[in-house]
Symmetry: C2
Subunit: 491 residues, 2 copies
């Protein structure tokens, strides 16, 4: 089964596509650029969603739901938002179909043309701030800490499953505050929630920092982000948190009366992560045998495969395995007993490897005699025989160890692929030969960033929050710089 996917070395991009399809995560659909998220892929997304939702609620947020459609005119209200957005999107122009007068199926009813076109939301700042105007009168109505789980559409020409699709699933937080300070605090709080989630649950180490003006969200004053490094040396932006200032409040006339009785514009943030995280999760850890999942996000954490020749043996093994399954489940572990009788163990092993199940337990008649089990871990592919009475402790520890190990491995990879250079020649060579994050000086202008992007395809991924002050010269222009920023080629 593992042979069904291209190796990373041969073609990383093809490896990714093969893996997504063969591991039953997602599929292209009949609609250009839109994917079908298959049950196994969706089960991982549900785990991501549940954990993030809990973290949002623990930090005081509540969920709500706003319309899928946004009147076209709303997009023009915030000038920089419309410039950076809303151009490539799905436009609803009619609200009725009718039978084709020529008897050939159905056609659009031209009598049912909308007065104003509706845009399928590419992001919801505009419709939400238009709504907040009615909800906010006084400082008592603030803060509003709302999140929404939703589908959004951005018409992409070149799409890739999870990484870039026309429709994708995401969450978008939209908060309203009485002061700039509070809004900035919220922006930082949420990028840290994302970073904690990425590191502790996805086992993906991330850089935390600000975006340069070029890479900032359309309509934002400041964009914070987390950036992860994939195995091919390309960066993947995994979450963003925006300080929107009073831009949307001004565009939609959202004012409040302060404690002092003064009318002021409301301060805003928005922040989001999407099904793109699935792409990061897949690419960060997986290998040529298939998916490698962090135990905390694996829909099935342990699979038990019985090894037998005859039906009586399966019955005996089942009697032995069910109490083990129960015992593990009592520890909160998700266990699947793969007792399908139309597949051989070897096939099952390969399948569960492809799907990234962290721990596999194999039990055969000889194990019954010896009171042992064979335990294999997906991350290192190591197998070891244990006494059956140690199984719970071994598995509990092993799941923790795998979670930690794949994080460490990804961190080590990032450290080995993070370079510091002051030479533009070397900069280009690193990008072409090794990839990774490059810490380099930059003169702080958009023009220089554009130039570097044009010449090398690398962009500034972030200006790390913890970048030390360091006098230097811009790698491209030689102009003075006071800290290094992180460059990379990116997804």
């Amino acid at each position: 089964m593992a042979k069904e996917i291209t190796s990373r070395e041969e073609n990383y991009s093809q490896w990714y596509n093969d893996l997504v399809v063969k591991a039953d995560l997602a599929d292209n659909s009949a609609v250009r650029g839109c994917m079908v998220i298959k049950p196994y892929g969706f089960a991982i997304w549900e785990k991501i969603k549940d954990q993030l939702d809990k973290m949002f609620k623990d930090t005081g947020h509540v969920n709500a739901y706003f319309p899928l459609f946004i009147p076209k005119s709303f997009f023009s209200k915030e000038a920089s938002h419309v410039e950076g957005f809303a151009k490539e999107c799905a436009v609803v122009t009619h609200y009725r179909l009718k039978n084709d007068p020529n008897g050939k199926g159905i056609v659009v009813d031209e009598d049912a043309k909308l007065e104003e076109e509706l845009i399928v939301r590419p992001t919801s700042e505009t419709i939400i701030w238009n709504t907040y105007r009615n909800w906010i009168q006084s400082y008592r109505d603030l803060p509003i800490l709302i999140n929404q789980w939703a589908n959004v559409v951005r018409w992409e020409m070149r799409t890739r499953l999870f990484l870039r699709t026309a429709e994708f699933l995401w969450q978008e937080g939209h908060t309203a505050h009485a002061t700039q300070e509070e809004a900035l605090e919220e922006t930082m709080k949420m990028v840290n929630v994302y970073a904690d989630f990425a590191e502790q649950y996805m086992a993906v180490p991330v850089l935390r920092g600000s975006k340069s003006a070029n890479e900032r969200f359309a309509g934002a004053i400041e964009t914070y982000c987390i950036e992860a490094l994939m195995q091919d040396g390309k960066a993947l932006q995994s979450g963003t948190s925006h300080f929107l200032g009073q831009n949307f409040a001004k565009a939609f006339d959202v004012k409040f009366t302060s404690k002092e009785g003064v009318q002021e514009y409301v301060w805003a943030t928005s922040w989001g992560v999407s099904t793109r995280l699935m792409g990061a999760l897949i690419m960060a850890h997986s290998d040529d045998n298939g998916l490698v999942l962090p135990p905390k996000l694996a829909p099935i954490q342990v699979v038990i495969v019985p090894i037998y020749n005859k039906a009586e043996q399966l019955q005996l093994l089942t009697e032995h395995i069910l109490p083990i399954k129960k015992q593990l489940e009592a520890k909160g572990i998700t266990v699947k007993f793969d007792d399908r009788d139309n597949y051989k163990p070897g096939f099952k092993f390969a399948e569960h490897e492809m799907r990234g199940v962290p721990v596999r337990i194999a039990i055969g008649p000889r194990d019954l005699e010896n009171k042992t089990v064979e335990i294999a871990r997906r991350d290192t592919l190591e197998k070891k025989v244990y006494p059956v009475d140690q199984i719970t402790d071994v598995v509990v520890n092993l799941l923790d160890e795998i979670q930690q190990n794949i994080f460490n491995k990804a961190l080590k990879f990032r450290e080995e692929h993070t370079y510091k250079t002051d030479s533009y020649e070397e900069f280009k060579e690193i990008l072409d030969t090794k990839g990774g994050f490059i810490l380099a000086h930059w003169d702080g202008t958009s023009e220089t960033e554009d130039l570097i992007k044009e010449e090398t395809k690398a962009t500034i991924r972030c200006i790390p929050f913890d970048a030390p002050e360091e006098a230097g010269k811009c790698i491209r222009t030689g102009k003075p710089s006071n800290k290094r920023v992180v460059f990379a080629r990116a997804y």
Copy 2:
């Protein structure tokens, strides 16, 4: 606060609208027919969703996600489906906007016209069965038991919050089976899941039965449903489960090789409930003071309101209340301590009443002295003083009692508003004066049902599964009938 809503007697429909808005459940949006589900309303929907999701998973289903858009041509493939559907829907014709050449905002880019229009899904049978064709080859691939939580759009001219909106949230199960028998079993299983959920969680008694041909889902061979009775005597269809036969398999050419090696068409079901359930929940139990929620679906089950004049008193009360809160939370109860200092107790009482919090605990300085608390229940508005050391037991029992009581009340209401008649005159009189369910004989033809609908606005809500065999004559035509069916005016 309670005065802010119209009474049921004065204007039931206005009462409903007032309640939805004043209880902070939902609001109309800037987009015609689309609602905003506010955080409190969404919290109830999340409870509904979580419980249903659990029930679906417990019956072997998994979640997945299919595209929002459906190519127009797909709808023409299943003849009866297109006839009953897909006419009033949102049509995407373009995929790009551009700056208005006259400098006035943005306009649709006519160069970006889609070759084939995309329909925003009104329901997903077509796109899903088109996908299943690639997933199903052999009997080993069956059954497929998939559910999807999604937004759908049906362009409604007259909309009402939750009950009928252009966009709404729902779940749609789409299952594929090797045999007719298994598909029929699934159809019945799911209508029973819906009924159990309605009765045990929403505390809404429902009739279970089949739809007449007129009311059947477009493309279904059989539609099962649950029907609830609202306080104004109108019925509300609360969930449907469809046996689709091989209709969609034939339309999308989905065949499998059976165990015997024969190519056969796959059997299908689909089933769904939507945010309409929120409407049923609101209308079934609430009163002129606001919402009445079943404890099992209440986002806040218990609110504790401190009664005090001076700030020191609040501090003392807080020290006393926090352990009580903890104690209740340890029993799995959701508790809110309403210590807002800018609102008076009377205001808070009215607000929590409006929002349907099942149990309210009030504690003042005198309670501290007497070691007592005052407990009020939302369903009957009764208040009673209890010793503070009994509080946990009292509240646990009270929540159960309220859940049971509002179910019993709704059941009693339904029983008192269920009539049996053999006279068409009486039939019409009941509809005009009392409303409710009417058990009457019917000759089994669509023509007669149409006629009755035209003359009385009543439709056949269902043919109950447990309707006894009984010879009689159709209430309208006098033709023979062998069982009574349920008529009502409906939402």
